[in-house]
């Protein structure tokens, strides 16, 4: 059994230690907002927060998570997170939407670390998150919009 702290609650799951966190979240805990895209930390669709830092859950064995706080898209609650989600909705960023949980998780972590990012900061922080619909124009705009709202 592996003990985990997900979105503020303690969970105990019966999983092999090398099971990626992604599949524990999805298949054991039913938290399907975190998506599978590539399985090799190339696309970012599976991004969650580990103690506030973005983590590719497809490549993180559940045994390495330990007692740290895992936050998924379902558990976002900070002011920054809510502002980012609202900016995404206001600008209709999503098309197919499949990557957007991961995009939002990365954007929230960026704005927590750097409240007023430049375009270059955004490119650097978010280049690990692929959007095949190429909604990047609006992702950039939404990060700036959220940043402006948070610092207003």
């Amino acid at each position: 059994m592996v003990s985990l702290k997900i979105n503020g609650s303690a969970h105990s799951v019966d999983a092999e230690p090398n099971t990626p966190l992604l599949w524990v979240l999805r298949d054991e805990l039913g938290l399907t907002g975190t998506k599978y895209g590539c399985g090799v930390a190339q696309c970012g669709a599976c991004t969650v927060h580990l103690d506030g830092q973005p983590l590719r859950s497809c490549s993180a064995p559940v045994s390495a998570v330990g007692g740290k706080n895992v936050t998924t898209i379902e558990g976002l609650s900070s002011k920054t997170a809510k502002t980012v989600q609202q900016a995404w909705i206001d600008l209709d960023v999503a098309q197919c939407g499949y990557c957007q949980s991961g995009q939002i998780m990365t954007a929230v972590a960026l704005l927590e670390a750097k409240p007023k990012p430049s375009d270059e900061d955004i490119d650097l922080a978010m280049a690990g998150n692929i959007c095949r619909c190429a909604t990047y124009v609006r992702i950039r705009a939404a990060v700036h919009a959220a940043s402006a709202k948070l610092s207003a």
Binding site: C96, A134, Y136
Partner: protein, 741 residues
């Protein structure tokens, strides 16, 4: 996919109907019509079914004026969406049209995806139920305006009766019906409205009274769910006892299974079944991770012989086919072409090469199948329900009326989820059948499975010879295209006329350019890998050839590329209009700073006109950097302007990924690329600034999901040619390093 003339749809979808067991021909026709397989001669029957039951599945007590609208007494307004949502915004677009005429409150409506029932939900451009060819809005525009207006008229007449007022005194806005001091919600009127006669002919709104159509303020309906992780895709479907399967698939095209030993796979904790299926060997488990571990442990033998397909040699093979000139199908033939070419003072000959491309949508292909109680249920991104329904029934060995498709949104498609064998649906049915227990199972592909499964945009080679007179005016155009036919050997084979598959040639012929003499041939070799449409289909390569060659000719003639095009478009005001609009907004006639150049391209596809101007510089490593793209689009009435802009932005990024990096190599039948590290797609740091301008138009609306793709690569290549002096005739661009001219 192509926009098809509805009147020819009957012939186009003439599928050799396989008769399900236990049914005679007559029963099959009846059940097919009821279940929605409206192919070929079955179309008249479908019309009958439509007349008999024009509303489909309606929960009891609800007001359903037609197949698209349900209003419950609790005031829930449900709209039935007949097209697949893959990100292109069809859900919002169709709901916008319905709500515009119904005067419902758009943000408050519920949407449901239509069941498989072609009699009610066929694509009017295809005659079958399916999404593609950028037709969702175009084929629904009139149909859904009428559907919405019909519902409104029945609510109004119910209110008029209840309040004893004249219908003319009644106004409807955002789901509320009023007259003087009287007021009622749609829900409050639902029961009465259901008893009103369905009006035969209803007036439609004057466009100047539109409150939703054409308004930037009209927003997507699915943003909330997609930004909170609550949108349900096939990968998220939960069912009691649901199992997950992955399939060990042949390592190369043309390779067959010899044998396998399931023992070590079955020893993996969580693995429940290891079964042979036509696609390979399925490892079924309680979750994805044990399934993957089981597949890793499986001992499996494939036949020793490698596959035969090698892309490296295919380019020269195809060139030889074009040069030999044997077995050509005629695309177009002007008998003056040769004579005109002889008059030419300058001729340009060029060979263009385009690689195989994978679609690589973010959600790898998947489908849930459950055989229970003598029936089959599927949950999947059924982009083409008419195919998926028929092929699922065949795979299950069930009559179509015993098969129920539950259609979900998808994490992208770009054409991949509409294919003429329903590969992702059929393999799930095969696994469910092989398990032999009534448990639901999801077959989930890994990224690598998805990348290597075939159904690619085919590899193409074009040869072109053009001739100019002394003033640089175009005299003649001789063209040959070599590449696999997408339509041949599929249920749409009837679209191939005398060997001419328009999905290989669209964009070369017909052309909006007035070319004095043009001849073009097509060769369609067959390969071990299945070909498929890929966002904008034939236009992915034809636009590149036409638009870069024209640009080259303008340069040779020392004429401005915009002016050169406009001269050839004297009879094409809408095409000329978007070129002028894009050039104007891009500041075409203003100088560029050193180290940067502009390129222009335009293309007509899916009844929509698009022109783009790209601004390109070079990165320190000699690779192109696209900094800004100005897009002008004329798609008729702009139903959701912000979504049109979104599609143009997305088309630019999607097309740029292919232009820069897209290439799939096959060696001895095996695909070399496997994941996003070696099949590169666009990332945010490579995304240019995009500006979108929508031409004012009163024409009926046309598609926007694909037409933004074709002009991008040639616009970028034309800018690169100006910047570096190098004309690129083989994609992708990143194969070579560039230097400033």
């Amino acid at each position: 996919m192509r926009v098809l003339d509805p009147s020819s749809a009957v012939a186009i979808f003439a599928i050799p109907a396989q008769q399900p067991a236990g049914l005679n021909r007559r029963d099959f026709l009846k059940s097919s019509a009821a279940a929605g397989l409206v192919f070929g001669l079955q179309l008249p029957l479908a019309k009958k079914a439509f007349a008999a039951d024009a509303v489909g599945e309606v929960p009891p007590g609800q007001f359903a004026p037609n197949a698209f609208i349900r209003i419950a007494p609790d005031n829930t307004v449900t709209l039935v969406i007949k097209h697949h949502e893959m990100g292109q915004g069809a859900t919002t677009g169709l709901a916008t049209i319905l709500c515009e005429e119904l005067d419902a409150d758009l943000p408050a409506v519920k949407v449901e995806y239509a069941p498989s029932n072609a009699a009610l939900y066929k694509n009017l451009a295809f005659g079958a139920q399916g999404t593609g060819g950028s037709t969702a809005i175009a084929n629904s525009w009139e149909q859904l305006r009428k559907a919405g207006a019909t519902g409104r008229a029945m609510l109004v007449s119910a209110a008029a009766k209840r309040w004893n007022v004249s219908p003319a005194s009644i106004t409807v806005s955002k789901g509320v019906v009023s007259s003087g001091s009287h007021k009622a919600t749609f829900g409050e009127l639902a029961n009465d409205a259901a008893t009103q006669p369905v009006p035969a002919d209803v007036p439609l709104k004057d466009p100047k009274n539109f409150v939703l159509v054409g308004k930037k303020e009209t927003r997507r309906l699915d943003s909330q769910a997609k930004c909170t992780g609550t949108a349900i895709y096939t990968i998220d479907v939960k069912l009691p006892g649901l199992l997950t399967a992955v399939i060990a698939r042949p390592p190369a095209f043309g390779v067959k299974l010899v044998s396998f030993d399931a023992a070590s796979a079955k020893a993996v904790k969580g693995v429940t079944d290891v079964v042979e299926v036509p696609e390979g060997v399925a490892i079924v488990a309680t979750g994805m991770w044990p399934a993957l571990q089981g597949r890793r442990a499986l001992k499996i033998q494939w036949d020793g012989s490698a596959g035969k397909l090698n892309t490296a040699g295919l380019y020269s093979d195809y060139l030889k086919i074009a040069e030999a000139g044997v077995g050509a199908a005629t695309i177009t033939r002007d008998k003056n072409t040769a004579a005109q070419m002889k008059k030419a003072v300058t001729t340009v000959e060029a060979v263009y090469e385009f690689p195989y491309l994978a679609h690589a949508p973010m959600e790898p292909l998947n489908c849930v199948a459950w055989l229970h109680d003598g029936m089959l249920e599927t949950w999947g991104a059924h982009q083409f329900p008419s195919f998926d329904h028929m092929f699922a029934a065949q795979a299950a060995g069930l009559p179509v009326e015993k098969v129920k498709l539950n259609s979900l949104i998808s994490g992208g498609s770009f054409g991949r989820r509409a294919n003429a064998a329903s590969d992702f649906t059929v393999e799930a049915v095969n696994v469910a059948k092989a398990i032999g227990r009534p448990v639901p199972v999801r077959v989930q592909r890994t990224r690598e499975d998805d990348m290597r499964a075939g159904w690619y945009r085919p590899l193409y080679v074009h040869t072109v010879k053009t001739g100019l007179d002394a003033r640089g005016e175009l005299l003649a155009w001789q063209h040959a295209i070599v590449g696999q036919s997408i339509m041949a050997g599929t249920p749409m084979a009837a679209t191939v006329k005398n060997g001419n598959d328009a999905s290989s040639t669209e964009g070369v012929w017909p052309t909006p350019y007035k070319i004095p003499a043009m001849s073009a041939d097509l060769y369609s070799p067959v390969q071990d890998v299945r070909p498929l449409w890929w966002r904008s289909v034939g236009n992915t390569h034809t636009a590149y050839v036409m638009e870069t060659m024209l640009d080259e000719l303008a340069t040779l003639a020392r004429q401005d590329p915009v002016a050169y095009r406009l001269k050839l478009l004297a009879d094409e005001p809408r095409m000329a209009g978007v070129i002028k609009l894009a050039a104007d907004k891009a500041g075409w006639n203003t100088p560029m700073p050193a180290g940067k150049a502009r390129g222009v391209a335009s293309h007509f596809s899916f009844d929509t006109y698009v022109a783009q101007v790209a601004e390109v510089s070079l990165k320190p490593n000699g690779q192109p950097k696209v900094e800004r793209v100005v897009v002008a689009v004329d798609c008729g009435v702009a139903v959701n302007p912000d979504q049109i802009a979104a599609q143009m932005e997305g088309c630019v990024g999607f097309a740029l990924a292919a232009a820069l990096y897209g290439e799939l190599d096959i060696e001895n039948g095996a695909v070399k690329q496997s994941n996003y590290h070696d099949f590169r797609v666009l990332r945010i740091d490579e995304m240019p600034k995009v500006e979108v301008y929508i031409a004012d138009s009163q024409h009926a609306p046309t598609g926007v999901g694909e037409p933004g793709v074709p002009p991008l690569a040639p616009a970028v290549a034309n800018a690169l040619a100006k910047l570096t002096g190098t004309r690129v005739r083989r994609l992708p661009l990143a194969r070579q390093k560039f230097q400033l001219a």
